[in-house]
């Protein structure tokens, strides 16, 4: 029954992961046919995918792990984006690398401020309160001149590059002709220059953030914190009576989710260079939720797949863009009815396998006692 992959020795596994990550970095250079998006800049699409992945990972902590339904997640995203916009362009001219941490902290603080009073109310009330929060954030932005009201904020700082306008070095893309694959020397990406035309460096930035958050996610989930979240989700009263300070952990989940949401918002603002309240509609909260639920809440890989689908499909099939919300709505209903655990439900077995060996040892030692008992 042993899975081939999980049976591999650790260094091999790490090597495989590194290769996978390298491949993910190289995708926009390879421009593989079918996947590549005709008519839209592929690098830009991939950046969007990476941001959705980031957001979905963050929301998964709140919804999937801790079981708190957050319908206003876009609010944290907006706080991150607006903080960066204000600090780098509208009211100050900080460098981006300083503004993003501040934006992340601002999102986290707002998460705590929203969570501290509301996390005590029943779960489905929380959904409505967070929905209200997301809308309040947007309406405040619309109505406040200091935040650029409906006109939004322009000239948001770009990330600092290395090696100036031409970059350190330039990487050619692949060109897929009729049955041949060529290096396209006309089409190069500069490493590492964040310009306007070539979106690929932004994708690399987004992907790096996704990988970092993913690693953190794995480390946290496999610890007391992750178990406390799950126990709270499963049965809050029982968890409390087993010594889990549930409120504290719910707040922690909320703040962690807000952290990731703020980070995604900051990166988005920097790539876009321009934000206005239209970028933070309630619709996005629902799309993020769709990403998490479609993929399989609680399973980070499922969530990544869900996010990639939600971000990528509308770009690939632009002619159906009008039907995007309709299709996601349908997907939610159908999934809830047919497969409530999502496309890729959490796989418990992997962790279980790790213990198999240990169990065998234990069993040897207790065989006698077992017999005596029976």
């Amino acid at each position: 029954m042993k899975n081939k992959l999980t049976g591999l020795p650790k260094p091999v596994k790490i090597l495989l992961w590194v290769l996978l990550a390298l491949f993910a970095y190289a995708v926009p250079l390879l421009e593989p046919p079918i996947i590549s998006t005709p008519g839209v800049d592929f690098g830009g699409v991939l950046f969007t995918v990476s941001i959705y992945c980031l957001v979905a990972l963050g929301l998964n902590i709140v919804v999937g792990y801790a079981g708190l339904l957050d319908l206003g997640y876009v609010g944290f995203y907006a706080i991150g984006a607006y903080t960066v916009a204000i600090l780098t362009s509208f009211h100050a001219s900080w460098p981006l690398l300083l503004a993003i941490p501040v934006g992340v902290v601002a999102a986290m603080v707002s998460g705590v401020l929203l969570g501290a009073p509301t996390l005590r109310v029943r779960g489905d009330y929380l959904a409505i309160v967070t929905l209200g929060f997301g809308e309040i954030i947007r309406l405040v932005a619309v109505n406040t001149e200091w935040l650029g009201d409906t006109r939004g904020i322009k000239n948001i700082a770009k990330p600092p590059g290395v090696g100036g306008e031409e970059g350190w070095f330039q990487i050619p893309h692949l060109f897929w002709g009729d049955g041949t694959v060529l290096l396209d020397t006309e089409d190069k990406t500069k490493f590492l220059f964040f310009g306007v035309l070539d979106q690929i460096p932004y994708y690399w930035m987004g992907l790096t953030a996704v990988i970092l958050v993913l690693i953190a996610d794995i480390l946290i989930k496999n610890s007391r914190v992750g178990r406390a979240w799950e126990a709270t989700r499963e049965d809050e009263d029982a968890a409390e009576l087993m010594g889990v300070p549930t409120f504290k952990f719910k707040l922690l989940a909320f703040a962690t989710g807000a952290f990731v949401g703020g980070l995604a918002g900051g990166l988005y603002a920097s790539r876009q260079g321009f934000i206005n309240p239209q970028s933070f509609l309630l619709l996005f909260s629902i799309l993020y939720l769709a990403a998490v639920v479609v993929g399989g809440q609680g399973n980070r890989w499922g969530v990544l797949v869900g996010a990639a689908l939600v971000a990528y499909l509308p770009q690939r099939f632009r002619e159906f863009d009008d039907f995007r919300v309709l299709v996601f709505g349908l997907a939610l209903v159908v999934l809830a009815t047919v497969r409530p655990q999502g496309l890729l439900p959490p796989r418990r077995t992997v962790r279980a396998k790790k213990l198999e060996h240990e169990l065998e040892e234990l069993e040897e030692g207790t065989g006698e006692e077992e017999n005596a008992h029976a």
Partner: protein, 329 residues
């Protein structure tokens, strides 16, 4: 903050606020009853309302309400009222059948049911928003207009009704506001009596208290749930009718904000509590009107959300307490 404006216009602001509040209250009933019986937030109830507004609009348009007056206009409005009730009730029942029953049967977690409802809400709203394209698909594009005389594209029935105002003790009152308030409160009283006295109403209350025991006592739970959605739908239809009388314009996304406000009203009064819904709706309507006079109309929608958060913090069970089952009071 414009206190002067608020105080100078307090009676007028209060009456229009009550009219809005009455509409919120009628929609809130749908949330409150479903919550009372199923402990689920029927997120898609806002779309039940939205379809009602369109049914009303289409009926008036199709019957040429713009050119009618006197008895004929009243007949058209009555037809529109029934159309709205029918449409909303039908949507509510479809919703129950498609988005809820499969989940209730499986005893799915509440989170999943809420997600299903959110999905259904988006589908319903988008179908209305994309109705041109949907009509195109179905090949109805060309000849549909012949039947509905432009109703499909129209979002507004402005100018159909005259709205005479009259003075009561120096306060100018719109007749529509008065109709809205009286009709809504009347319906709520009727419903309250129905739930308290009729056999069906007792079934609803019994199921709300203890579904298992109720079903052992011969109450059919599926049927009770259907009736609950049906009543909620009819009330939303009436609300849609009154809303259109007052506002005259609708859109495919009109449901969302109104839905959130109606839900706020339900929570404010104590969710699951019918009289609470009325009280909560009226308070919210007035608070919103006063608030927008005070802070400016652009903050109108923020007020409802802030109020919602505050209530949940201070008194999560609402002003009159929860529970449909114990809805004696």
């Amino acid at each position: 903050m414009n206190f002067e404006f608020l105080f100078n216009n307090l009676p007028e602001l209060t009456i229009t606020g009550l009219a809005f509040g009455a509409i919120y209250a009628l929609v809130a009933l749908g949330y409150t009853m479903v919550y009372g019986v199923l402990q689920l937030i029927n997120f898609a109830h806002s779309e039940v309302f939205m379809y009602g507004t369109f049914a009303m609009l289409w009926t008036v348009m199709a019957l040429n309400g713009a050119e009618a007056d006197g008895v004929k206009l009243i007949a058209i409005l009555i037809a529109a009222l029934f159309a709205a009730m029918l449409m909303s009730a039908a949507i509510a029942l479809i919703l129950e059948r498609v988005a809820y029953r499969p989940l209730i049967k499986r005893d799915a977690p509440r989170l999943i049911a809420l997600i299903s409802a959110i999905g259904a809400s988006f589908v319903l709203a988008e179908l209305m928003g994309l109705r041109d394209k949907v009509a195109e698909w179905l090949g109805l594009d060309d000849n549909l207009d012949d039947y509905v005389s432009g109703a499909r594209i129209n979002n507004s029935m402005a100018g159909v009704l005259e709205k005479p105002r009259f003075d009561v003790a120096g306060v100018s009152v719109s007749s529509i506001d008065l109709i809205v308030i009286v009709a809504a409160v009347g319906m709520m009283v009727l419903l309250d009596q129905f739930v308290r006295r009729s056999r069906l109403g007792k079934g609803i209350r019994a199921t709300a208290q203890d579904p298992e025991t109720a079903s052992l006592m011969g109450v059919n739970p599926t049927r009770t749930i259907q009736v609950t959605f049906l009543i909620g739908g009819i009330m939303a239809g009436i609300a849609a009718f009154l809303y259109m009388l007052k506002i005259e314009t609708t859109r495919f996304d009109v449901g969302f904000l109104l839905g959130v406000k109606a839900f706020t009203a339900a929570v404010l009064g104590g969710i699951g509590n019918l009289r609470g819904a009325l009280l909560g709706g009226l308070i919210l309507g007035v608070a919103e009107n006063w608030g927008s006079a005070l802070f400016g109309t652009e903050w109108r929608d923020v007020i409802a959300f802030v109020l919602l958060v505050l209530i949940l913090l201070v008194r999560p069970t609402g002003l009159l307490g929860e529970s449909l089952g114990k809805a004696r009071a």
